[in-house]
């Protein structure tokens, strides 16, 4: 794994935790509602080609919970401040699930610092008539099982999730996830009206067995963001960067590589 560092960064009044590793063009990874987790093998692989920056969102884990934080829009604006403060340019912005929603909201507001946008199993819009699990009504173990196609992997994650030292962060993450996504559930009705404003190359990576935001969501995002490319990874659940890290990283690298050739 490429070396990564952990640091604390203050953006205005809010201190957040940051994992960072590798060098190259900046790749900012926005985590989902489950929290930032660990420096994944897929991040380590991407760090061979990119400066991978994975912030822990305000209100999650060890980051501050600022009084102003009420909505995903607040986080999108926060990350615009973040990009300004770090003066990042040509950013490849990647977001998973709730992080994908933040990334889409950010790109609609201001994409001048972005080179590309990648949404992984992203929340943010609603698609009628798609069966989805209610992650607020399932118990902890079932919730983890629902995230993965490979149930052996799910069992391993369940076993690892029960360490008492993780409990505080898990409760904090869950509370903030509820605050941001309970109602309207997992989406902002205003967002889909403005997704056409996203002009940067956009990649939509979905697991074929995503039970949280099934593939139909990828297709709906594709209809709303012109030129967006969909990649569906077989035998994969809601978290391709965790469950199929190599395939995910390879697809992202290929997409960014092709983009450079086209440019």
């Amino acid at each position: 794994m490429a070396a990564q560092s952990i640091s604390i960064l203050a953006i205005r009044d809010c201190r957040i935790r940051l994992m960072r590793g590798g060098s190259g063009a900046p790749l900012v990874f926005l985590h989902g509602g489950g929290g930032i987790g660990v420096w994944l093998p897929s991040m380590a692989r991407l760090a061979r080609k990119f400066d991978v920056i994975a912030p822990e969102h305000p209100g999650f884990g060890e980051s501050d919970t600022p009084a102003w934080l009420d909505s995903v829009g607040d986080l999108a604006n926060f990350y615009l401040d973040f990009l300004d403060q770090l003066d990042l340019r040509g950013v490849h912005l990647v977001g998973s699930s709730l992080g994908g929603w933040i990334a889409a909201e950010l790109a609609v507001r201001n994409a001048t610092r972005l080179a590309s946008l990648t949404l992984i199993g992203a929340a943010g819009i609603h698609v009628d008539g798609v069966a989805q699990v209610d992650t607020f009504l399932t118990n902890e173990e079932q919730r983890i099982r629902d995230l993965f196609y490979d149930q052996e992997l799910a069992e391993a994650v369940i076993a690892g999730s029960q360490r008492p030292e993780l409990e505080d962060a898990a409760l904090k993450n869950r509370m903030m996830t509820a605050k941001l996504s309970w109602q309207p559930r997992n989406h902002d009705p205003q967002l889909r009206k403005w997704l056409h404003r996203i002009k940067v190359p956009t990649l939509l990576i979905w697991g074929d067995h995503d039970r949280v935001f099934p593939q139909d969501y990828a297709l709906a995002y594709q209809r709303l963001i012109s030129g967006a490319k969909v990649v569906v990874i077989p035998e994969c659940g809601h978290l391709p960067h965790v469950e199929k890290g190599d395939v995910f990283a390879a697809e992202l690298e290929a997409f960014i590589g092709a983009m450079r050739i086209a440019a």
């Binding site: 607020f136 009504l137 118990n139 409990e167 409760l171 509370m175 509820a178 605050k179 309970w182 109602q183």
Partner: protein, 387 residues
């Protein structure tokens, strides 16, 4: 002591096996199981019971609020209160609902309660609750904003009742250019406010500080005593001595000729309440944000087993009182002294208990229990017993 006939208005014809199969009578238990013919009969049966309680000499009748559940058919208690406002002639009318955070326009509660207070010429008791966690699943309200919305709605309603309008109100969750409700409440400055809770420390502190009557919901008597002691201590911190009238215990009482007969008669109906109507997964009861992480951790650590409770369990824990008139009098006096309350919010109908038995129970309570407690106040409440 004052006695209120407290009704949950359960859909008592519910298919208990279907509830068990679904895992809960709440939120996800399909309303295909609701039969409107039976439901209509039940509404009238229960309202008749409330009117009967008034005639029997109960000091008040209590309505409740829960949503999308067979546990109780009173999502909009004001409708039923309206039905009772003219037929209950003497007793107080308490709504131990209005789950304020669930309502997007709290001014409607100010209006609704003010109408009821006028209709009853000042017999309304105004309850303000947050609702249980299941309500947030059922009503699409964000549990993480529950406390904020409750506090803001409360402030708005009390101001709407006490400050001459129109005035403007600008909150985080509710904004009004004109706050000027007609009618104004009949009672001055406003109807008594009662706060039911499961025992949250912050709620008890707040209720004590505001001098609102605190109602402890379904709990073992030792816990009730502990919560009431907390209230008295918080009142002292706020610079006054709390009266037992500020403390109400929500219980279930069933009286029959003998202890044995009372237990036998109440058993299936009470166990239906405990093991079917009340059951729900932790995720439904405590959605994230509904309580602070510290309380959430305590609940998780307690690892509620969900093991079925027998009538003996809940009698022993002092959640309910079931027995002969003599047993019930003894227990109630003991509990009153232990916990120091002066209001009993008593479910006389519970679970699947049919009408005839409920009425028999109400009559027995009115004849055998009420007269003995009419002028009885808590004796030498022992704070040490609550520790």
């Amino acid at each position: 002591m004052k006695f209120f006939n407290f009704h949950l208005m359960p859909y008592r014809h519910a298919d208990l096996d279907a509830i068990a199969k679904n895992g809960s009578a709440w939120v996800t238990f399909s309303n295909r199981h609701y039969d409107a013919q039976k439901g209509a009969e039940l509404y009238h049966e229960y309202l008749d019971q409330m009117e009967f309680a008034d005639k029997l000499g109960f000091d008040g009748v209590c309505l409740n609020e829960h949503h999308q559940t067979a546990y109780g058919m009173m999502p909009i208690p004001g409708v039923l209160a309206g039905a009772l406002a003219r037929s209950v002639k003497r007793a107080k009318l308490a709504i131990l609902g209005r789950a304020l955070p669930l309502i997007n326009n709290p001014l409607m509660v100010a209006e609704e309660y003010a109408i009821l207070d006028n209709l009853t010429r000042g017999r309304l008791i105004a309850g303000f609750v947050r609702g249980i966690g299941a309500e947030y699943h059922a009503m699409g309200i964000n549990p993480a904003y529950s406390q904020e919305r409750y506090a803001e709605a409360h402030d708005l309603i009390v101001r709407a009742w006490t400050e001459p309008g129109p005035f403007a109100f600008l909150g985080k969750h509710y904004q009004f250019r004109y706050v000027n409700p007609w009618p104004r409440p009949y009672q001055k400055p406003h109807p008594p406010i009662w706060i039911p809770s499961q025992g949250s420390g912050s709620t008890i502190r707040w209720a004590a500080r505001m001098r609102y009557t605190y109602c402890q919901t379904l709990s073992p008597i030792a816990a009730v005593a502990r919560f009431f002691q907390m209230y008295r201590e918080e009142a002292e911190k706020a610079g006054y001595q709390a009266s037992p009238d500020q403390l109400a215990w929500s219980n279930t009482i069933y009286v029959a000729e003998t202890d044995e007969r009372a237990v036998r008669e109440a058993r299936p109906h009470l166990e239906a309440l405990m093991n079917y109507f009340l059951k729900m997964p932790t995720e439904m009861l405590l959605p994230p944000g509904y309580t602070d992480p510290a309380s959430m951790k305590r609940v998780r650590a307690a690892k509620v087993t969900g093991k079925p409770q027998s009538i003996e369990d809940v009698i022993k824990a002092g959640v309910v009182i079931v027995g002969s008139p003599n047993t019930v009098r003894e227990k109630l006096a003991e509990y009153q002294d232990l916990a120091g309350f002066n209001t009993s919010l008593t479910k006389t109908q519970f679970g699947t208990l049919p009408d005839e038995m409920a009425r028999g129970n109400m009559t027995a309570i009115a004849q055998e229990i009420l007269p003995h407690f009419r002028d009885r106040a808590p004796q030498r409440t022992r704070p040490e017993a609550a520790e």
